[in-house]
Amino acid sequence: MVSREYLRDYFSRNWDRYYRIGFLVDLGFKRRVCVKCGRGFWTLDDGRDVCPDQPCSPYEFIGNPPSNVRLSYVEAWRAIEDFFVRNGHESIRRYPVVSRWYPPLFFTAASIVDFYRLEDGNVVFEFPANPLIIPQFCLRFNDIPNVGVTGKHYTCFVMVGQHSLYDGREGYWKERCIELDYKMLTDVFKIRPEEIVFLEDLWVGTGAYGYSLEYFVRGLELGNAVFTEFLIGKNGPREMPYKVIDMGAGLERFPWLLHGTPTSYDVVFQPSIEKLKSICGVRVDEKLLLDYYRFAGMLNVDEVKDIGRMRSIIAERIGVSYSEFVEAVEPLQALYAVCDHTRALAFAIADGMIPSNVGGGYNLRVVLRRALSLIEGFKWGFNLIDVVEMHAKQLKPIAPELEEHLGEIQEILDVETSRFKASRDRASRVIDRLLRSGRLIDAKTLITLYESEGITPELVRMKAPNVEIPPDFYSMVTRRNEPLRREEAKQIPVEGIPATRNLFYEYPYSYEFNAKVVKVIGEYVVLDQTLFYPTAGGQMHDEGLINGERVVEVLRVGGVILHRVKNPLAFREGDSVHGVIDRGRREALRRHHTATHIVNAASRSVLGSWVWQHGAEKTPEKARLDITHYQALTDSQIRRIEEAANRIVLENHPVIIQTIPRRNAELKYGFIIYQGGAVPSREVRIVEIPGVDVEACGGLHCRSTGEVGFITIMRTKRIQDGIVRIEFCSGEAAVKYLEDRWSILRRTAEILNVPDEDVPRRVEEIFNEWKTLRKRVRDGL
């Protein structure tokens, strides 16, 4: 991959090809080069010689908005939506903030991520409409220290996505994109054309990149129109067969610009902030805030490194003492951060992710604990759910689902708040011990305290006020938990071997077949077609015989299926062979796979919508399903899940399997189909139990839920924070398992010489007698 600097230089040198927009030139926009930073920009103002970005230009809209239009946060979206719909765009509902369709990310970090899909290791774009506009709630956790401080940073924000896929026939390209953005500013928000400046830039995403024009008004960047032409593939960058308009604008910026408030939070969280300021008695010096945030926009904690130094510079410039200044801004900045963090948590939980110590859940716990620490630190008398309720009410026109999920959000926040309080009590003891030992509490110690004990630096500072907290502490801990690359599959050379025909999909109820040997690789035999199902999607492979030789393992590498046989010497290329599947094993695997879908659906209905499949394994003897849930299951929950699962079995629903385009499947069923992970192909195999469950799944299934037979849960266990394992079996395996239990009961009853029903009573009597006697023996009576 070529460097960002190289690309910036390349696009800039070829500005006439990449950045020249005829529409702007016709209006009189001219290209200039910033005398401070050297970047190219386009403006109508002949006197302008600096680019509009910070630090070259200051914010000039704070306290001085450029238009008479005053719209609230939600109204600003409505106005933008209305404009683009009038101009031929389809308005699309937001996608989940948890990007399960795109595994390289935990969360939807930009609107374009909605349309990224993987295909053979490369990114492709799949648009549900063309062109489209979308209010995409996005989560980003790399700027946590800046949230509340700079006036513009968020962990949860709405990216207005204006997207078009241009192939020469459909969609549009950069001329039309910039024309629309310009007209949105001038016609909808009544910004004077002289106020608009386009800055040349580029954007490199996780899957694609392009050159871009950012548009600014009075020093505030409102949007970035990226003209995506190149893909970052597994074999390096390559030009795409089509072009993609990826214009992302922070919705938060528009009402901020229009109102000219000190921070964007004042207008974005307006109803919540007003109430919270009143509840908490936070008083605001408006003039000081206006002065502060005019400067703060220029600052970024990552760049300034020391937030304390930054504050003292600003305090000096606006002529107040450091302590006065901190006293005036800190409580308000904490309220802003709490508003942001609760919004991130609300959307993540509503979309099915819960705080934990692993994966994306880790980021959620970081912001949750930061929010709780701030509330504790200032001794405020409100709960996180109070703020979530305010968000739900305010955002109802854009995201009505937030209100629908309030019960679940409250349940998760309550559990996490209790855990936080428990760790705070423990924190007090741990920090006392640390201070007594005289050990230096440095950044490394703070990270260890956070990761092993859940103790936030804010809690440490309550006990030890002089401890230095690195300004990017929360970025440091979240960076340590980036998505992991999946391990490569077993490497067996299969280049040049044609894909095996999957007879198990064509004839799922056949058990014998004829085939030809295509290749023998060590102990593996490759056939032209096979009924043997390979280990895949958590389902164990079939076993059986090929020409009387035992098949002990079946693997898939790419499209080639490899049969590991006991005696590979018995096979030669070109041989005609006859295969026989072990029918009992196949039926048990089939039942356990369908049972896994049933137990997953039953768990979700009993526990809550945050339940997602984290992993699964199906063997002939039993199945295991790992689900996302915040605590170990109680006996009552286990019984209820089992009852719900058996009800689904008794209702004998059909199991419908169809292979359809991925895009159609997502539109019809939503992203719940990705329970087992994203599908890296254009077509997906959908396994649907109508009204119960629907998943993209490559496994073998029963024709109806009745065929699964009764399901019994054998055991459950909380295997890690946020993940619960359920082990169960069904059909004959379940009957055998329960008969084994009965046999144990009978043996115990025989030993006790009582009927089965009396075993618990008799065991209790014996246990009590044993305890009494032991006491007497110990007491020497």
Binding site: G706, E739, V763, R776
Partner: protein, 55 residues
């Protein structure tokens, strides 16, 4: 699923529940219940013997 299948299943589940209750009292895994009960009976006998011989 026939009604006799269902009756048999229900009976098996009742037996499982009885076994689970018994295991909870002694806090043992199901597989270990018979052996544990035997040990308690043996120790009860031993303790009774010990107490009677010490009188």
């Amino acid at each position: 699923m026939s009604s006799s299948d269902f009756e048999y299943w229900s009976k098996l589940k009742r037996k499982e529940e009885i076994l689970r209750r018994a295991c909870e009292i002694l806090r043992v895994q199901e597989e270990h219940l018979p052996r544990t009960v035997q040990r308690f009976l043996r120790e009860i006998e031993d303790m009774k013997l010990k107490l009677s011989s010490s009188r």
